[in-house]
């Protein structure tokens, strides 16, 4: 049996449609050899958590550019935790002000990427911090 690849769910919670970053990342992660599931815009935290469980992913990457991350990101982390899926790593990106970071980390997010982060740096982070579950 071949080694299981890292599975990533990329999702855009909330109502904003700025999906350029999420889609660029979807391609980048695919090219990096990860299995990528992109669920498109306008997902509720509930839909995202359900998809993450159903797809049995290792990581959930959330992208939000509307300013609603303060509610949406922690909500996804909480729903996963409620389902006993704390082992799914939640990361986020977008227009995230410095002063919001601590609250997001406290809510369970493991990394936050903001404009200027290179594609390589994201792939590197994933490879370093994620082990595909058996």
């Amino acid at each position: 049996m071949s080694e299981r690849r890292i599975r990533i769910l990329l999702a855009k919670p909330g109502l904003d449609g700025h999906d350029r970053g999420a889609k660029v990342l979807a391609r980048c992660f695919r090219d990096a050899g990860f299995e990528v599931i992109y669920t498109g815009c306008h997902q509720t935290p509930e839909q995202i958590a359900a998809a993450a469980l159903q797809e049995d992913v290792d990581v959930v990457g959330l992208s939000c550019l509307s300013g609603a991350h303060k509610y949406l990101f922690p909500q996804v982390a909480k729903l996963l935790k409620d389902e006993g899926a704390e082992d799914i790593v939640v990361i986020g990106g977008g227009i995230i002000p410095e002063q919001d970071m601590d609250a997001l980390y406290e809510a369970g997010l493991k990394a936050i990427f903001t404009p200027g982060a290179t594609l390589d740096s994201l792939v590197e982070w994933i490879n370093k911090n994620i082990t595909p579950r058996a």
């Binding site: 909330g14 109502l15 449609g17 498109g40 509307s66 002000p97 903001t114 290179t118």
Partner: protein
């Protein structure tokens, strides 16, 4: 365009120059092999008469106010009137946005432009579970006509034109505007403004959608028909390339997809409504991005006017020159701004604004330096507006019309943009039109390709963004005033909405919504029913729920 003699002379001089180039390169190589625009279009070292020798002055260039309108629609250019200084503004509640509007009018702005928050843009009310956390964040929250009245308080609707960036619920918001004007005793024939109301680019790029493409275009044709008959000074569609570009498209893609979208709307209004093209086409307006590549943008805007004039005259047999005019608003490129060293954004915006002016825009929004980080602060907005005023009144850029006409480079680049745009347009024609192309994911994938390629080029430092991948300040602390929308806004708006819902006549609301639903099912124009519904205090979501119920909901296919 040139005599044989001149071309011969140019050819021999060019040979000498090329020899000189070879010698110089042997001593000092060029800094890089390929010189390209931000859209990856290769640019030559020099342009000369040979690059535009096939142009015909009368056919391809001519004077302003003359076909093909390459040089502008108006014979007098900016001497008669500068472009409209129109800053996009909206945040928090209607009262807050109204304050910002009055501040802008006092600062010398000449037209208003509304940003709505995401729930409003998507046709949800503040009390919808889907709206949680979003209220007032990226624009103003409007749930009912009660909010709308506060939004336009003190704005003379018969004197100031207002643009509303609203798409799926455009009928509802426009109905609120019309109803408010009527309440103030201003006839609909006197009000002017724009609703963006361009759904095709939503499926392609901005992703603010509600119903599937077909019924979405039907609702747009309803507004075109209603405007043609009753609100003749209103621009019922602002066919937008801005978002297409922001999603990562190249300049050519922005140009081609936008114009092909425009053609789709023209064809639908003719086919579905039986209108003659010249009844409505003069009120179609456009909206472009002005990105960082100076000449590419100027060429794109010039090409846009020429393509549209040709398409209207030759493809749709339009006889009225006003239909041939492409009138457009421009916004500087948000995606070109950087969170790093944000004050550099002032320079980027100024360059882009100058390109828009040299490209002959009729209206302009200049981004504020902090917009990549947050909603713009008053001071940042003031600098952005002053940028336009400096260009208009200090630099001399507005002295003469289309000052770059006749430049070998600019004309050649304009031609190249046009040719490449027509290739895309014809390809989409062959697919069966823009709706069919969207169903296939064609424009979406073309843009994704371009966006991914650009990001790879940035990472590889093949393209430069100062402060991001070159001249980076290590451990930079961004220290600019930060405007944030207080979470209390959501509770305030929830209370407002609840109060309206308590006070209104519930039976009347249900009736007007039922009438709207029946009109939808019959295929009637929804506008008159929408106006009655908003007057009865039906909410934006209640109206949109009718559309979702009758026409179905579109879900993002998540194509990448």
């Amino acid at each position: 365009m040139f005599t044989e003699e001149l071309l011969n002379q140019a050819s021999s001089l060019r040979q000498k120059w090329e020899d000189e180039v070879k010698k110089t390169i042997a001593k000092r190589a060029d800094q890089k092999e390929k010189w390209t625009t931000v859209s990856d279009l290769e640019i030559k070292r020099i342009y000369g008469p040979e690059d535009i020798k096939d142009m015909d002055f009368e056919r391809d260039i001519a004077y302003p106010g003359q076909f093909p309108y390459l040089r502008g629609n108006q014979a007098t250019g900016y001497r008669g009137k500068y472009w409209t200084f129109r800053m996009f503004a909206g945040m928090g509640t209607a009262v807050e946005t109204n304050n910002r509007w009055h501040y802008l009018l006092k600062t010398g702005q000449t037209g208003l432009s509304t940003a709505f928050d995401f729930p409003t843009l998507m046709g949800y009310d503040t009390d919808s579970p889907k709206a949680k956390g979003e209220c007032g964040k990226c624009g103003v929250a409007i749930d009912t006509i009660d909010d709308f009245r506060d939004l336009i308080k003190g704005v003379p609707l018969d004197k100031i034109t207002t643009s509303m960036t609203i798409n799926p619920p455009a009928t509802a918001l426009w109905a609120m505007y019309c109803a408010s004007a009527q309440e103030q005793g201003i006839p609909l024939t006197k009000i002017g403004g724009t609703i963006q109301n361009d759904m095709l680019k939503e499926f392609i790029a901005q992703k603010t959608f509600m119903c599937p493409p077909e019924p979405s275009v039907k609702l747009i044709s309803d507004t075109v028909e209603f405007g043609t008959k009753y609100v003749p000074k209103w621009n019922t569609i602002s066919i937008s390339g801005y978002h297409i570009r922001e999603a990562g498209a190249t300049a050519v893609q922005e140009l081609a997809f936008t114009l092909r979208d425009g053609m789709e709307y023209v064809e639908d209004a003719i086919r579905r409504k039986g209108l003659h093209v010249d009844e409505f086409a003069p009120r179609l307006s456009f909206f472009f991005n002005s990105h960082i590549d100076f000449f590419e943008e100027i060429a794109k805007l010039r090409a846009a006017r020429r393509i549209w004039a040709k398409a209207m005259r030759d493809r749709y047999d339009s006889k009225d020159p006003r239909s041939w005019w492409m009138r457009f608003h421009t916004q500087t490129a948000g995606c070109s701004l950087t969170a790093q060293q944000p004050y550099n954004n002032v320079v980027r915006t100024a360059t882009q604004a100058l390109a828009a002016v040299l490209g002959g825009t009729q209206s302009l929004h200049t981004n504020s330096l902090d917009e990549v980080l947050c909603l713009p602060s008053d001071h940042a907005v003031q600098i952005a507006l002053r940028t336009q005023q400096i260009i208009a009144e200090e630099t001399g850029a507005a002295n003469t019309i289309d000052p770059l006409a006749g430049s070998y480079f600019v004309e050649a680049l304009t031609n190249e943009m046009e040719e490449k745009a027509w290739e895309y347009i014809h390809k989409i024609d062959e697919m069966g039109g823009m709706i069919a192309a969207i169903d296939k994911g064609f424009p979406q994938l073309e843009i994704s390709d371009a966006a991914y390629k650009f990001q790879q080029q940035i990472d590889a430092q093949e393209k430069v963004m100062i402060g991001v991948n070159k001249y980076v300040e290590a451990d930079e602390q961004v220290d600019i005033p930060f405007l944030e929308i207080d979470d209390a806004v959501e509770n305030e708006q929830l209370a407002r909405l609840a109060a309206v819902k308590r006070k209104r006549d519930g039976r009347r609301v249900a009736e007007t919504l039922k009438d709207l639903e029946n009109a939808c099912r019959r295929g009637d124009n929804v506008m008159p029913y929408c106006i009655e519904a908003v007057k009865s205090y039906a909410t934006v979501q209640e109206i949109c729920d009718v559309y979702r119920e009758v026409f179905g909901e579109y879900r993002d296919p998540g194509i990448y």
